[in-house]
Amino acid sequence: MGGIRTAGDLVARLQLNRGMRIDAAKKYVAEKLGVSVLDLGDTIVMSEVREELDIGRVSETPAVAKGIDAKFRIAELLDLKINCVNMFMERVGIRSYQAFD
């Protein structure tokens, strides 16, 4: 699909962690992001959406999410458990990324 250029990484998470088939996974992600299913594969739309939500994108600018920070937001956004995010929170001693507020 294009990975973080589009919404490929998000759809893939639903496939590998929940065993969702492609149509269901795309619909789920589109609803959570507030875009159409067709938008998920559009690099222009998704670049803007990803920047707005701060969930990581290819063209990096300073002070935007680039790794684990993006995955904290993705976990919340998709209502999905991400293993490394949980591990990070456990090691740091926080319950969610909002605990930084």
């Binding site: 990484d9 998470r13 962690n17 067709l38 993006a70």
Partner: protein, 349 residues
């Protein structure tokens, strides 16, 4: 009418008439249908494939909206094979940010769980650092590779030596011992990378290359890992369309594994807790690509229709209608990808 330029299963160019291509498409479809006892391609599907070969575009792609996710095998060896001296973590970032990969896969250059076991303490810090720097989901991947557990590479008597001597029972026992060793290694490596290093999932690649006992070992390892970590992503990619009966009687959940085709393999994978299944359909190098592609699609379509979990068909060197060559030609690779995704309603490749 002029001939259409396509390729043989080994990648060499061949010029065929429209009638010859149609004949090969029908023959390949029929071959798979008879072997797996599944429906052959219908007339519209044959026409779709024929049009794909008539199309003179060098590269083709799926219709907008039908994009699917890609998973990989041996990802961090691909760059190393090209002798580009960058670290495995740099390779993952390159795949994510440079190549738009939907998923990532960390692995050891010696792509077998038995070998990964020896370096797992060095793989975990790589995974720990990789998950901090990347956004796409990351698998840790490797092959069950049952062959490494028999003499001279492993501790078990080699069934390949015993079978020609007529030692059938001894060979079966050897396969069962090898499977137990393999299960232990796969569960150990999978647990370490998931529980202690933050991987999103584990990838069993080229499963059942050594036959039914290896398929059993991978299913059992998946089952144990799924029970331990219900949220863990588990991908199982196969090595061929047919489970070789090297043991011949080994069963998983009451089903004899020898002789299973993809539409039955995936049902057992689902029961084991696998979340993504990858059927692999081997290439016949001395048959044309139209024959191979039609054949692959019949097997894969039946698998996709039977599945409840995502299907990521194996398309690459020598599988899924892609020529058996180290440098797969784009015309062949893109046609095989488009046709599989659109005709089999695939979730990924």
């Amino acid at each position: 009418m002029g001939k259409i330029l396509t390729r043989m299963g080994d990648g060499s160019r061949v010029a065929m008439t429209t009638a010859e291509i149609q004949q090969d498409l029908e023959a390949g479809s029929q071959d798979a249908a008879e072997r797996a006892n599944v429906p052959p391609l219908v007339d519209d599907e044959i026409k779709y494939l024929l049009d794909l070969y008539k199309n003179k575009d060098r590269v083709v792609g799926v219709e907008e909206g039908k994009e699917c996710c890609l998973t990989y095998d041996n990802m961090t060896s691909k760059i190393k094979r090209a002798h580009i001296p960058i670290s495995k973590i740099q390779q993952l970032v390159l795949f994510e940010r440079g190549l738009g990969a939907d998923t990532l896969e960390l692995t050891h250059i010696d792509y077998s769980f038995k070998q990964c076991k020896h370096v797992v303490q060095y793989e975990k810090p790589n995974m720990e650092q990789a998950v901090l720097q990347t956004i796409a989901p990351i698998f840790y991947g490797s092959m069950p590779n049952l062959g490494l557990y028999s003499v001279p590479d492993g501790p078990v008597a080699n069934p390949g030596d015993m079978l020609p001597q007529g030692k059938i029972e001894e060979s079966k026992e050897a396969f069962e011992q090898m499977a137990e060793y393999a299960i232990k290694d796969m569960v150990y490596v999978g647990s370490e990378l998931y529980e202690k290093a933050g991987a999103d999932g584990i990838n069993f690649d080229t499963t059942a290359a050594a036959g039914d006992a290896e398929f059993y070992a991978a299913l059992k390892a998946a089952e144990i890992l799924h029970d331990k970590y219900p949220e863990m992503g588990i991908e199982m990619g196969m090595s061929g369309e047919f489970i070789l009966g090297m043991h011949s009687e080994i069963e998983y959940k009451g089903v004899r594994l020898a002789g299973l085709y993809p539409q039955d393999q995936v049902k057992l994978a689902e029961q084991a807790g696998v979340t993504i299944f990858g059927p692999a359909i081997n290439i016949s190098t001395n048959s044309s690509l139209p024959w191979n592609l039609a054949r692959s699609i019949v097997f894969t379509k039946a698998c996709s229709e039977a599945a409840e979990i995502p299907i990521h068909a194996n398309l690459g060197m020598g599988v899924g209608g892609v020529p058996l060559t180290l440098t797969p030609p784009l015309d062949a690779l893109s046609r095989a990808s488009k046709a599989h995704v659109e005709l089999c309603r695939l979730d990924g490749l």
